[in-house]
Point group: C2
Chain length 286, copies 2
């Protein structure tokens, strides 16, 4: 198949999911979206790179779902609901046309489940690695998005799920939880680079410190990985004192004055993943 035929194949697969706001989808110079009045739009783009975010051997459908799920997780972290996505796929020498098709089938399965319409994108080839760039647009009622900023002294610190899971497991973007949190959380973000680094980011944005007392560790994982491993895609959020606990979430600590982040009374140095550091930097030793 050439580029035109592949795009047409993808367009047909994507056509079963429609949204009235999508005025024009795949096939012209741009996609056209007519926004709901009174809605703020959220935008996030995230790359999925062979050898970094997935292994060459990962099934294509799993890689496709993962590529979309990474950006959906950021939409969830701001309390948003997915609207549409653009997918730019570059196919490297380890993967063929069949792989590309299964990649899109996997991506579109998650897209249908989360009501995310595929509105456009780009296809190309590379002599090196396979790589997908997925841009997701989400919607949130006006001025209701959750920020990293906003955690107050005395707030409880929570995470969804359990941390430190293997990096190739399927990601479940916490969209329903994010929507619930819009009404109650003082701050929120998703855990993509490791709890120690991401919690420091939330504390910096909110100009507070944190005392962590416990962390829910995934089955078969370790405390070390739960604290510093990346790619969890769970939500990290804070609730004002006296808030009711939410099912599927665990309290891990309390927001305090200052700027220090502590685990069981000792400083918790960030060792999460710095995507821009060289692999030799201390922060990238997983």
């Amino acid at each position: 198949m050439n580029e035109i035929e592949l795009v047409e194949w993808i367009r047909k697969q994507a056509a079963s999911l429609k949204r009235p706001e999508l005025v024009l989808g795949i096939g012209d110079d741009c996609a056209i979206w007519h926004p709901h009045p009174g809605e703020d739009l959220l935008f996030k783009t995230d790359p999925l790179i062979e050898g970094v975010h997935f292994s060459s051997a990962m099934p294509a459908a799993a890689a496709g779902a993962r590529a979309l799920a990474r950006s959906l997780s950021d939409i969830a972290a701001m309390g948003g609901e997915p609207r549409f996505c653009l997918v730019s796929l570059t196919l490297g020498p380890h993967h063929d046309e069949a792989w590309l098709k299964y990649f899109f089938l996997g991506l579109l399965k998650l897209a249908r489940r989360t009501n995310t319409v595929l509105a456009g994108g780009d296809l190309s080839r590379s002599k090196h690695e396979t790589r997908a760039e997925v841009m997701v647009c989400g919607g949130v009622p006006r001025r209701r998005a959750l920020y990293r900023e906003g955690a107050g002294v005395g707030d409880g610190i929570f995470v969804s799920g359990r941390l430190g899971r293997a990096w190739d497991r399927p990601i479940q973007p916490r969209i329903a939880l994010g929507v619930q949190l819009r009404d109650v959380a003082s701050s929120c973000m998703d855990l993509s680079d490791g709890l120690s680094l991401d919690l420091l980011r939330l504390c910096k944005a909110s100009r507070v410190g944190a005392k962590i007392t416990r962390v829910p560790i995934a089955k078969g994982s370790t405390l070390e990985r739960a604290l510093h491993g990346g790619e969890d895609y769970e939500l990290l959020f804070t609730l004002p004192p006296g808030s009711r606990p939410l099912p599927g979430t665990s309290r891990i600590g309390t927001i305090v004055q200052g700027d220090a982040v502590e685990f069981k009374g000792k400083p918790l140095a960030p060792r999460g993943y710095d995507h821009f550091a060289t692999s030799e930097s201390p922060s990238n030793k997983k």
Copy 2:
């Protein structure tokens, strides 16, 4: 500099351009955009790949401008005005931190000139090539976007500028022309893969044929390159019979019944660039 410091440096450079619709820019999980009521939004993402769309030796600022200009050209082709962009940059081994900074300075210079605010993105490193993915959002009054579809029999076929220019010249996205065309053109697209292939696409979308009689050739170029070379980033559009010519544009032919595309009475086979074909395919011999 680590990732956080580089993002902060970029954020500061980008801060001189503000738009009231950008509720939240670089720094949180997503960017937040509050759309104008009554406006349709246009979305386009386009990769700029080292060795494909620019050479390693191209000055960084020129590569940055080119990365943005490619997507802006698609916004212009639908009659839109730029609103914001997301930039995902992967730095390969041929380029360093200084290159990255000049890349963003070049991109931001064009962004300011076109009122495109930088709302977010991503930074990463690769062992292979440098690569930028730029997503641009544009705005257009509701239901006023220009499509490839819409050319009618008897319409004149026009292009802006002159075709076949060297692929490393700066791209001038035809935004002002696109806005003018909203009121008069029956169809429009941008020329990125070569006139012969792109005109065929416009004709297919509009279910018509075309007779081309002349093509404005750029100084130092050839008819062959003007017909089949890609990366022109000029606008290709049709005007109903009797329309007034627009400054800086040339009539190249007429829309006819059927589905054939002819140049001076002979079939004009598409030989533009198929991004997904292997370099051996006939359509990719430039």
